[in-house]
Subunit: 155 residues, 4 copies
């Protein structure tokens, strides 16, 4: 079963529902995901539970403002690559913020590997100098160096 | 005319020949290319001449050691994405160097946009924390902060 | 009461004892400290308790290997600046590791502001490209992008 | 001859005149200077000529807008450390720009080593996350990744 652009769209739509049975139809329980950069959320997430935990952090720390706008999707027999513009604002900041410490606006590509109709691996990569801005966005500090409580620290 | 993985391989092979008439068969004269990061070689190169100038810098500064190993290639009607492992050592350093300031070993994806069988735009992006290492590799300094002459400065 | 190099040495020695009454003799309860970079431990720590919490994290994440070797100390009526070489290895890694993700070896200067014989503010800054390496050292990932559990996450 | 805060002020004032005989009174011909970060201007400059060449680049690339505001100066028998707020805007950009790619506003400390009344070594270091912004400011790209011609490239 070869992945298609339509399947990729369905997989992300399932993820957005937050319903585990929907998610399980497209994302393998033993999948892993690599977040680019060296900020607190960077690195490999091993297993679907860990990946969903990461997605929960993204939602919490961005006040649910994080979103991906699809630009195009590519495929071959084993992989898909979806190009997106990712946008978001740090929780507690105005939606028209523009500083990298509080506002995210980056061009991204996600390379997904599939087996039996499910994602078994995903890796994100960022175009231009967006990785530096991604590191600043997820840093626990703002431009003035003040530490902003993350949901994990606040709990 | 839809791009294929075979066409992508031919385009890179043409680039490697260094022969302009071969290159012109696959790369549009008005193409542009975006190099990730914020190091001296980063940013958009406008036009095939500028892109070839960048590739010449890569060869010169790596003592011709820079190489790309293809992992997989994806396509759709307008774009291709080739995943590679990029390796190289800074000119004048031992080939078994491992420090980010002198040795490069990163996982990369290049998103190419095609029109009439030729590349009109390319953008590279790097997985994991490779962008930080890419910035360090192309920086004009080594780990101790000593400025290393680049071909441009040396000329 | 003007600060002296000897006073600076006594203040750090008190810090190293870990005994709060010793520490309170040199460090004001309402002091604040700015850690450079954009890694998980970066930013302002407000109050002596927060600063000591940071120092505890440094000890825990470095397996108590973190140390500062004094090079020289400068003073004026209100400030001191101590220059140090800071060394450490990430907890769980060999002491001869050299990669920025696991080994730290940076040249640092700490600017302390004093009032009535006690530190009321401290800010660190790093020479050369050490800030990039400091960001990599405290990142939650290693060179391969695998997330390493920090004491906070492990607890 | 022990350095003083007044001597530091005189040394920088001499530098600002641009007159070599004035500069030679305070800066040793074989001095060296370390610029922090990994941007195109980073690293050690060996010799007064090289250091003055760096200062010329700073003036040219900032449209002569670069300036240092002294906050305090510390001394001991061999070293001085002057704390400054450094400000500047990239040549060709509005003076009210705020993005790290076009506007600089960082807190800096310069550690100078003296011998016989002259500076023989200087090293700068930046507080907070200013080093990342310094790297972005001197990068040859703007936020959108477009390469901006530097005086060196334009010549």
């Amino acid at each position: 079963m070869k992945p298609t652009a339509a399947l990729v769209a369905q997989a992300y739509a399932a993820l957005a529902t937050g319903r585990r049975e929907e998610i399980d139809r497209y994302w393998s329980a033993d999948m892993r995901w690599l977040v680019p950069g060296h900020h607190p959320l960077a690195g490999w997430y091993l297993g679907l539970d860990a990946f969903l935990g990461f997605m929960g952090q993204v939602a919490a720390q961005s006040g649910s403002s994080f979103r991906m706008e699809n630009v195009t999707t590519l495929v071959n027999d084993e992989y898909t690559a979806d190009v997106t513009r990712n946008l978001g604002t740090k929780a507690g900041h105005a939606s028209d913020a523009r500083e990298p410490y509080t506002a995210l606006d980056i061009d991204v590509i996600h390379l997904l590997r599939w087996r039996d109709g499910k994602v078994i691996e995903g890796r994100g990569a960022i175009f231009g100098d967006g990785t530096a801005r991604f590191d600043q966005f997820w840093a626990p500090v703002n431009r003035e160096g003040h530490r902003e409580l993350t949901p994990r620290e606040a709990s």
